[in-house]
């Protein structure tokens, strides 16, 4: 069996697939990628990689209509193709189970493993697939995944909650100290109501996989236990996190006694500077909110810092402390595309809520530290 393909196409395909390949050897075959022409149209093969958590498949155009079903070591293959000097690569599969990669003046011989051992990706019915704006969705992923919990002891919080209701899609993440919620409006007729938890890694990998795509939309399909995303011939399948996500709507404050309007980037820079002196244990940074200025202070074993930032306020002065790291995480996200933001507060022990001055489809909530 022989196939021929464009080196460039193959490289792109492998680049997409290889991030799903297991790098720790659970099963030897999971270190390989599957090349298969089964269930596919003439002139194409699928390349599939998976670590049993997520799976990525991509479609590769091949010259001839050969029947292929074999796995090849992913890492070596990717390295070879990355450095391959010629425009096309010829694969020659041997009876004994090895494969030759042939160029004009070079030949590699790789050992393979049989395709029968390679796990099948879970089947996700795409009848109910709906579309999301690709760039908005990628932004929503960046805006929420940072707030997920890293502690696997509470697995529900390690994922992002995705709710669909009345054509509104809401992504939310919290680790118990902060909450990030992003709303998206769906373009086409959104189908059913939906409430699932998608692992953080799935979304991070998805964003990486599709953000360069020259497409406007990404397709999403959901079953009880799996989710599938599809863009530009690439398909990412992942399991969902089982469980019931906490109802964060209840904890979002409805009214605020104090409001602070600020320029996002200058405040972020000021916080970053003052945080240098924050305690390495507690990371406490203090906001003294005055009528027209915000005084940021921090101090610990090694010294103190103080910086004042011009702001516009409404309500009484307030003194409130935050974990500097959490605060910077939030401000960094806003600094990406909100020149001015609004910080809303009630008291020094109640949550602070931040959103962009221009639109309120994205909200972050942050618990203060008790003084």
């Amino acid at each position: 069996m022989k196939i021929t393909c464009s080196t460039e196409h193959l490289r792109k395909n492998l680049q997409a697939v290889q991030r799903a390949v297991a790098n720790k050897g659970i099963l030897p075959v999971l270190s390989n990628v599957l090349f298969t022409s089964l269930h596919d149209s003439e002139g194409h093969i699928k390349i599939i990689g998976t670590d049993l958590e997520i799976g990525v498949e991509s479609r590769l155009e091949i010259g001839a209509a050969e029947k292929i079903n074999i796995t090849i070591p992913a890492k070596k293959l990717f390295e070879i193709v990355n450095k391959f000097p010629d425009e096309t690569v010829h694969f020659d599969f041997h009876e004994n189970g090895s494969v030759d990669l042939i160029g004009e003046k070079l030949k590699f011989n790789l050992n393979t493993l049989p395709a029968d051992d390679f796990p099948r990706l879970p089947h996700v019915n795409r009848d109910t697939q709906f579309s999301l704006g690709l760039s908005d969705f990628c932004q929503a992923i960046r805006q929420t995944t940072f707030a997920t919990a890293t502690d696997t002891a509470k697995s529900i919080l390690t994922g992002v909650n995705v709710q669909l209701d009345n054509g509104q899609l809401r992504l939310a993440a919290t680790d118990g100290y902060r909450l990030a919620v992003r709303q998206l409006v769906l373009h086409d007729n959104s189908p059913q109501a939906l409430n699932v938890i998608i692992p953080k890694r799935t979304l991070v990998e998805l964003e990486r996989l599709i953000k360069q795509d020259e497409r406007e939309m990404v397709g999403m399909s959901v079953t009880d236990s799996h989710v599938l995303f599809e863009s530009d011939g690439k398909v990412l399948t992942s399991r969902l996190i089982e469980g019931k996500y906490p109802d964060y709507n209840k904890i979002l404050p409805k009214s605020f006694g104090r409001k602070v309007w600020f320029e996002t980037k200058p405040l972020l820079s000021a916080v970053e500077r003052v945080a240098i002196m924050a305690s390495e244990q507690t990371h406490v940074i203090n906001f003294d909110i005055q009528a027209s200025e915000l005084i940021i202070t921090a101090g610990a074993e090694q010294g103190k810092a103080r910086e004042s930032v011009e702001v516009k306020t409404e309500g009484e002065p307030l003194n409130i402390s935050f974990n500097a790291n959490y605060l910077m995480d939030v401000l960094k996200i806003f600094a990406e595309d909100a020149s001015h933001s609004l910080l809303q507060l009630n008291s020094e022990i109640q949550p602070a809520v931040i959103h962009s001055v221009d639109n309120d489809d994205y909200v972050c909530m942050l618990m203060p530290i008790k003084p």
Binding site: A149, A153, K154, G176, Y177, Y248, I369, K370
Partner: protein
């Protein structure tokens, strides 16, 4: 009915023997103590036949020929003239019961000569009767041979344990004597084999090495502490060298081997958060107390004593051990990195009294009665204990010994006086000198800011469980979890109030009535630790805030664990104890875990923090933190020995 009669002497002695002569080991104890009182500097003990054959030979004063027979009469003693004397005895035997009691239940042969006599006296006594009285050749001193112990008291004979056990008791006793009295030469011959032999010229450390082995001896530190209450001296093992039993814990009070449960408990408590549960250090302690302050007349076998001012003696011993333990820690940390130089920052900030809002007091109506002992905020002492030691009792003042820790060099162990190994034959004053033990006066405190960092992390090993680090010119493995746990624990303990992180999502946990009670009783400790909660329903509470360092996901586990511990410990009402437990549990649930991948920078941070701790050896639950390999050791393993 039989008429009441006076018991004849033989029966009376046999009954007394039951008290004094419990088993072969108690005979040996009596005889060795007699020998010591006779000024012996060398004592040889031979045993055989499961303890029924015993011989004690000493080089003491001997008994004058004319009074040898008297020694076997009940209440005959050379040591007391009047009842008042009994309060100030400095000798070991005094009740005058031992020899006649033994003689009543065995065949005894005594051979004794004093220095001013040319010929020795030989007496054979059986069943209390002198059956042979002759003169014989013999050295100065006394030799007592006991054959067929309990031959005429079959009941007692039946209750003797196996040979191994009985001889084992005697061996333990002889170990105790040899360790406790290194200035006396001991030879212990068990079934014809010499098991223990000390010269009486050795230092304690060499006796320890000889009896307990080199490895153990190398992990001992000395204790020497004197107050008006008395003097405590001895050796204890470091927390990283402990045993599963207390077989190597010996206490001598005025050179008498005794058991004092209070002191045993004290040693346990001092090591409580340094070693795993049910592990005990080696501890050989000598207390020198004014004779009038000790009552040894509690029990005929004199194994128990009473103290006049036990709290003083308790404190003396505690301070002695704590001083040395903390000095040892200081030395270690000095060799690891800059010591904790507590500058102004160490000044304990007063506890900020949480303003009791009306809502809070409504929620907590039983507070006044539940926490009566601790309601007064003044009662909460600033918690600045360098050595995280469980306070043995509430009444004790909060560790005044440590008021200003470590910085001023503690009193060096360099007694100018006479040594433990004395010039013979005069009985020396009991001053310890342990030249072989590597206890040097602590190095001068390293100046703050002087960067010296002999520990630096290299990477992680074994599925991200251990940090591999340069350690001096050797190598070390640190358990990353416990290393950070130790650091966090010490940090937390020092906080007047642990910073509280309110939660976005409160954690609801179910509690029963007992737990609710415990929570109320310990509300202050929980609040100081940064926890806040509200009633949620009849059987549950909602935790609203947690200590800033605690992992959110561990909230419930931490809370439940502390409640369980409080429930089991029964000391739930001791504020400091509860806070201490909380800190331990919080530290454990806050620290990075085995399996967490770390950047080199994070590892470096953990190692640096750890090197500043006061006890870098074990985690608060007693697990070891550090495993080190010297270059020499590694060279040996690689046969790089040129």
């Amino acid at each position: 009915m039989k008429p009441i009669q006076l018991l004849d002497a033989q029966v009376a002695n046999q009954i007394a023997a039951g008290e004094v002569v419990e088993r072969p080991a108690s005979v040996i104890k009596e005889l060795v103590e007699n020998a010591l009182d006779a000024g012996a500097t060398f004592i040889q003990v031979e045993v055989d036949q499961g303890g029924r054959f015993l011989r004690v030979v000493d080089n003491g004063f001997g008994i004058p020929a004319e009074s040898v027979g008297l020694a076997f009469q009940r209440f005959a003693t050379s040591k007391l003239q009047s009842f008042e004397d009994i309060w100030s005895i400095n000798t070991m035997g005094f009740r005058g019961e031992a020899l006649p009691s033994i003689a009543s239940v065995a065949r005894v042969e005594i051979l004794t000569r004093t220095a001013d006599q040319d010929i020795a006296k030989r007496l054979v006594i059986q069943g209390g009767e002198i059956i042979e009285n002759s003169s014989a050749g013999g050295p100065v001193g006394t030799s007592l041979t006991i054959r067929d112990l309990f031959y005429n008291t079959p009941a007692r004979l039946k209750f003797l344990s196996s040979e191994t056990t009985e001889l084992g008791y005697i061996q333990q006793l002889m170990q105790a004597f040899a360790l406790g009295l290194p200035e006396i030469g001991f030879k212990f011959v068990k079934k014809g084999k010499t098991v223990i032999q000390t010269s009486g010229q050795q230092s304690l450390s060499s006796v320890v090495r000889q009896i307990l082995g080199k490895d153990l001896a190398d992990s001992l530190y000395t204790v020497s502490h004197e107050t008006p209450a008395g003097l405590v001296q001895g050796v204890l093992s470091y927390p990283d060298c402990v045993r599963r039993d207390r077989n190597y814990q010996f206490l001598f009070v005025n050179r008498r081997w005794v058991k004092v449960p209070g002191i045993t408990k004290l040693v346990d408590d001092l090591y409580a958060d340094l070693v795993p549960k049910k592990n005990f250090p080696v501890a050989i302690l000598q207390l020198e107390l004014p004779a009038g302050n000790v009552d040894v007349n509690v029990h005929p076998n004199k194994k128990e004593v009473k103290f006049k001012h036990f709290s003083q003696i308790f404190q003396l011993t505690r301070e002695g051990i704590q001083n040395s333990l903390s000095r040892y820690n200081f030395e270690r940390s000095a060799s690891l990195g800059p010591p904790v130089v507590d500058s102004g920052a160490a000044e304990p900030t007063p506890l900020t009294v949480p303003t009791v809002s009306t809502a809070a007091s409504a929620m907590n109506p039983v507070k006044a009665s539940a926490g009566n002992a601790f309601d007064d905020d003044d009662e909460i002492p600033p918690f600045a204990m360098p050595l995280p030691v469980v306070q043995p009792s509430v009444q004790e003042p909060a560790a005044p010994v440590y008021a200003s820790p470590l910085a001023p060099a503690p009193v060096p162990v360099q007694p100018a006086g006479p040594s433990w190994a004395p010039e013979l034959p005069t009985r020396p004053p009991q001053v310890l000198e342990l030249p072989d033990l590597k206890i040097t006066p602590p190095p001068a405190p390293v100046e703050a800011g002087a960067p010296l960092e002999p520990v630096s992390a290299l990477g992680q090993a074994c599925d991200y469980t251990y940090i591999v680090a340069h350690y001096g010119n050797g190598l070390a493995l640190l358990d990353q979890h416990v290393a950070e746990e130790r650091y966090l624990y010490e940090e937390l303990l020092e906080q007047a109030k642990i910073l509280s992180q309110p939660l976005l999502l409160s954690v609801v946990i179910e509690i029963d009535e007992i737990e609710r009670g415990l929570l109320e009783e310990n509300r202050k400790a929980f609040e100081r630790a940064g926890f806040e909660w509200e009633e949620e329903g009849p059987g549950s509470i909602a935790i609203r805030a947690i200590p800033h360092c605690l992992r959110f996901a561990e909230t419930e586990a931490t809370f439940k664990e502390v409640l369980l511990e409080l429930r089991e410990s029964g000391v739930a009402k001791v504020y400091l104890e509860s806070f201490n437990r909380l800190c331990k549990t919080i530290a454990c649930h806050s620290a990075i875990r085995a399996g967490d991948p770390l950047t080199l920078e994070q590892m470096q941070k953990i190692v640096q923090n750890w090197s500043k701790t006061r006890n870098p050896y074990t985690c608060p639950h007693g697990r070891p933190i550090l495993l080190k390999f010297s270059k020499l050791e590694l060279n040996k393993r690689f046969l790089r020995t040129w």
